[in-house]
């Protein structure tokens, strides 16, 4: 794959790096990410039974846009309520934590990025991001000592760069997306071929600007070249493999990729194996079947909130 040789900042020319930073700075200056976003995602990324519902309700209430959206979706006929919920607490109960999380995420991103400028189908984007989060967490359960919540968060945000590219390089990114769909190749390869850099770099610039944690930033910057992630290798490798799996099990970007995934030959597999010998015992076929089950649920949830993915 062409991106195997690709590296982040160190080997890129200063001009390209500066251009990306400059554009990100200018385009995504205002509005910035809503203050409640990270605490909320943190709270929601754990196992549902451990989440502190009062705290979720408190944080949701802080943000008008998120609160309004929760009330609106909870009032939709989908939930079959005789009377629409009147309080934030009732809305959160009706929706369930998973849907609240989707709403939090989409509202926050929706505020930060003007929707009409998205270079890719938002529904496919959310389906892939949530799917990758879910698969990353599922994968982490198979490996002793990996923090499932961290894996979830990393999976959720790994493609942040698509949003950054949509805003900072709208024309160039649109060309890359069009080429990826037409040639049925992975998006990052099309970006590299047409723009000379990928969503890994733009995502990294945005993550730096937003002061995201180092491990998450590493995942955003290196998930297509996990061998270059250095010390954060394990988490990056895990998200890389989950991303690859999502793209062949229906949690893709909504177009066919001529793509063969050979997980056990993937360098990321060896990276994970160094720290986690238990990986050898994973029945990959069965893991895939189980993943399909959760994938169907992610698909339903995203469709319930956004409508179907455009063909």
């Amino acid at each position: 794959m062409t991106l195997e040789n690709h590296e982040a900042w160190p080997t890129m020319t200063t001009t390209v790096t500066d251009k990306i930073r400059d554009r990100i700075e200018r385009i995504v200056t205002t509005p910035s990410i809503p203050a409640v976003f990270l605490p909320l995602v943190d709270l929601l990324s754990g196992p549902a039974e451990e989440a502190n519902l009062d705290e979720v309700v408190r944080l949701v209430s802080y943000d008008n846009a998120i609160a309004a959206q929760c009330l609106r979706v909870a009032s939709s006929p989908l939930f079959g309520m005789v009377k629409p919920p009147k309080s934030i607490a009732a809305a959160v109960m009706t929706l369930g934590l998973q849907r609240v999380e989707t709403i939090v995420l989409t509202s926050c991103m929706g505020e930060a990025f003007s929707r009409e400028k998205w270079g890719i189908d938002p529904v496919a984007f959310w389906r892939h991001s949530l799917g990758c989060a879910m698969v990353s967490r599922k994968f982490s359960e198979k490996l002793a000592g990996v923090d499932g919540e961290r894996a979830y968060m990393a999976g959720l945000l790994h493609d942040l760069g698509f949003l950054a590219s949509s805003m900072a390089f709208p024309e160039e990114f649109a060309v890359a997306v069009e080429r990826a769909c037409r040639e049925q190749i992975p998006l990052h390869e099309a970006e590299q071929a047409t723009m000379g850099f990928t969503h890994c770099e733009t995502g990294r610039a945005l993550a730096e600007k937003w002061h995201l944690a180092k491990d998450i930033l590493d995942v955003i910057a290196h998930h297509h070249a996990p061998t270059q992630a250095g010390s954060a290798g394990s988490l990056v490798a895990l998200v890389h493999l989950s991303d690859e799996l999502c793209r062949v099990r229906g949690l893709d970007y909504g177009y066919y990729e001529r793509h063969k995934v050979d997980l056990i030959s993937d360098p990321a597999w060896s990276i994970l194996l160094q720290d986690h010998r238990d990986l050898e015992g994973v029945d990959l076929a069965r893991f895939t079947f189980e993943l399909d089950e959760s994938a169907a649920k992610v698909g339903e949830m995203v469709s319930a909130i956004f409508g179907p993915v455009a063909a």
Partner: protein
């Protein structure tokens, strides 16, 4: 934002799906998986529930726990599992049964094989449909390969070997006559191009498709014959190995591994897996499809 979309109204039932299924059926799913590698997803668990239901009716059982006991008691489990597997694979024989498998073949695998064979003077593609039953899969493969003969496979010799243990199935396969049910996933394009209408509603496969295929009877457990099936690029063996016990299955899989060329692929049915019976094959993924790959020599991954 498109959340006001009317499609939201049309799908409320989906969200509750799978919640009311008797947990015993998930346990039966585990038994079936451990015995033969077939896995029914939650969304398809109704197939398993239906299959068990038909067996229970035949046996005069009304309680799913009683059926569970029958499936787990040492004296009855092997025979009953066989009956249940028959029920589970009913209706899986149609043409174009798995479009993702066909897409993987034409869009990813064929270009790869063509690349590997670029220096060979006689270009030959050998496919084996092992356990071809009444021929649906074999003809699907043949038609799709014919579609490629104007492009990727121009000038190639294409050979499809289709074998089955059952003589009657092989005879039916040779005739190549199919009705609506078997053709339910076949598009008009393929029907018009590769079939001739017969009396009634049936369609017959045209000679140009048939001549790519050699049908014959073969027992996959016949070691001496298995050794002769050499030089395969692709092997398809759908819903056959599920009926074999562990050691026989393992033996057949090892045969398949040697029957394949380096860089060749082995496909099982869409919900089947090898249960780690062979660690030389790599499980590989394509969009919506899985296959087992015998790594090519130059990949250095063997």
């Amino acid at each position: 934002m498109t959340s006001g979309n009317p499609s939201v109204l049309a799908k409320p039932a989906v969200i509750k799906a799978g919640e009311s299924i008797d947990p015993v059926f998930r346990q039966i799913r585990d038994i079936v998986y451990k015995a033969c590698g077939i896995f029914q997803l939650d969304e398809k668990l109704y197939l398993l529930v239906d299959g068990c239901g038909r067996r229970m009716k035949q046996l005069g059982l009304t309680n799913s726990r009683d059926y569970w006991n029958l499936l787990t008691a040492q004296s009855s489990r092997d025979a009953e599992l066989r009956h249940l597997l028959n029920e589970l694979t009913i209706g899986e024989t149609s043409l174009f049964r798995s479009q993702p498998q066909i897409d993987a073949l034409r869009k990813v695998i064929l270009p790869e094989i063509a690349g590997e064979k670029i220096k060979q003077i006689t270009k030959r593609l050998r496919i084996w449909s092992a356990g071809c039953s009444t021929g649906e899969e074999s003809y699907t493969l043949a038609m799709n390969m014919l579609e490629e003969t104007e492009g990727l496979l121009k000038g190639w010799t294409i050979e499809i070997l289709a074998t089955d243990l059952n003589d009657r199935s092989v005879e039916t396969a040779k005739a190549g006559v199919y009705g609506d049910y078997a053709l339910r996933s076949t598009t008009d394009y393929f029907k018009r191009k590769y079939f001739t209408p017969l009396d009634g509603k049936k369609l017959q496969v045209q000679p140009e498709v048939k001549k790519l295929i050699t049908f014959s009877r073969l027992n996959l457990q016949d070691d001496s014959k298995m050794l002769f099936m050499k030089g395969m690029d692709l092997i398809f063996c759908c819903n056959v190995l599920i009926y074999f016990d562990g050691p026989s299955k393992s033996k057949v899989i090892n045969h398949f591994f040697s029957n394949l060329n380096f860089g060749g692929y082995f496909f099982l049915g869409t919900s089947e897996s090898l249960l780690k019976l062979n660690d030389q094959f790599h499980l590989v993924h394509f969009p919506g499809a899985m296959a087992y790959w015998k790594p090519s020599l130059k990949s250095g991954k063997l």
